[in-house]
Subunit: 328 residues, 2 copies
Amino acid sequence: MSNNNLISASEACELLSISPDTLRRLVRTNSITTIPDPTDARVKLYDRDLIISLKRPAMTISTRHKVITLSNNKGGVSKTTSAISLAAEAAKEGLQVLLIDAAPQASATISLYESEKEIKENELLLGWLKGNVSFEELIKPIVFEKFKIDFIASGSKNDQIDRSNPLEVVPALREFFDSWEDSPYDYIFIDTDPSFGTLVSMAQVGSHFVLCPVQADVLSVDGTAQLSRQLQRARILTRSPFPALLGFFLSRFDSRRRVCKEALETLKAAYPDYVLQTVIPDNVRVMESPAQKAPINLTAPDSKGALAYQSLWQEVRERVERSITTNS
Amino acid sequence: MSNNNLISASEACELLSISPDTLRRLVRTNSITTIPDPTDARVKLYDRDLIISLKRPAMTISTRHKVITLSNNKGGVSKTTSAISLAAEAAKEGLQVLLIDAAPQASATISLYESEKEIKENELLLGWLKGNVSFEELIKPIVFEKFKIDFIASGSKNDQIDRSNPLEVVPALREFFDSWEDSPYDYIFIDTDPSFGTLVSMAQVGSHFVLCPVQADVLSVDGTAQLSRQLQRARILTRSPFPALLGFFLSRFDSRRRVCKEALETLKAAYPDYVLQTVIPDNVRVMESPAQKAPINLTAPDSKGALAYQSLWQEVRERVERSITTNS
């Protein structure tokens, strides 16, 4: 980044049409990263590209589909359960849904699709990236009693993607999704590994929104700030307002434990506009769902877990629709 | 990439102020990639960002140092020997030179510096990327009888960089070099692994120029086209004319073998402006040099190999100086 790209606080305020106080709040809540002036470290400078990427009166999506990645570089925060449950809620409403397992750990694939056989390279994103199969050939419908979810499986071979050419891989989904004119989907959900490797970066850069489950009892504001910075970098790369942070939500929430309530308050204080109302309870029915090879809205539709995901989906859908204008 | 970014051949000609014939030649020589029109595959479209990145009446370097990466995703083409020999020629002329070993295979480190001990993480680019040490702390001078080369060692631990966050790693050297105002160097050479992984992408994106040794008897025009596309992607990412292809040169050249001469002709036909005149002979003295822990211009200064590298350095320096204007 050349130094010409650094601007002062007052220039940043002017570009965003906001007051210095609002700018300070955005810096405090980690929405904007500052860079110390090389000649005087007390002076804070701002990255022009980043500031421009935040200037978005309306975010225009030029495709029918909205792409949402579930991401958190900490493991065990219910990314997979959330991806499956949200896809199932959207599908239950009659929307056309594609769920992509982009995690070499393949938890979604094991939960919904195949748990025994090793998936062939040409049924994975790896085969597509190598140019061996078309994207459409990867898609397998999973038909449940009341709806279907189209699915792209994952497997340990996708690990190779993390060792491949990032200049080729990172923009690949973005380029494909932007140009996929006859995409039949309303929503595309992507489940990812707990890392910020090449494969996760590809999923994030390919997304309109990133949704981040946070486990209440291992909450680290550091961790969430890291995701926020990662999305900033991705927006600089794509020169666009995407991927935008859709929000954080607490998973495995136990309302009887004080640490859970405290975690929620800490998160709300750090990201006032980015914490979803819904919390996902620590619920045994949610845990059992994968063993039955079906989403929780089918295996235990009246459980607290299922009701929570129903409410989470409503919030997610409203946030997405409020954030965008469709370019049609 | 949104479809709005695709432009027609005539728009591309206008942007570059060139004729349709010149555009066709650039496409034929792999300097420009075309994209088939989604509605009619016979029509070729062009990426606007890429075309703009080629529009460079003069390439301005805003730092004193010029950064040159030796790169080829095929192994055994003399990248390391070339990096060391060019750095040594530049140093012999009295220029301030930094040589960076960015290959986890660490051939340059083994040849010049340490062959026995495992280099500590904090003496490697890995330690710098993790924020544990400053860039300057990595630099160790290697003092020869007539000149010194400043050196950053590599080791197998750098392999971890290939598994780390590409959104963070790929732009890191670029950002550092662009902002390194008190850099004492005239030339910085970077040796890389035979891959296009995250670490190699970081080196390329951090460079002004990429120089590509090609082995005469395993010549693959496919391979060179791949490097050319890789640099295009990097220029789109950096929104700048860098990294530019400095050129290809043939290494391990045996003038008695027909295959070598044919390889040279094929390369010249494919890249008329990008094949250096100098060829590096298949020379036993070049091979023996690493065992003596010194560059060939010291170990065998009158050998054919040493004279070839002397001539290669003159060509490299002229090409660099011809390509740039310095912004001071």
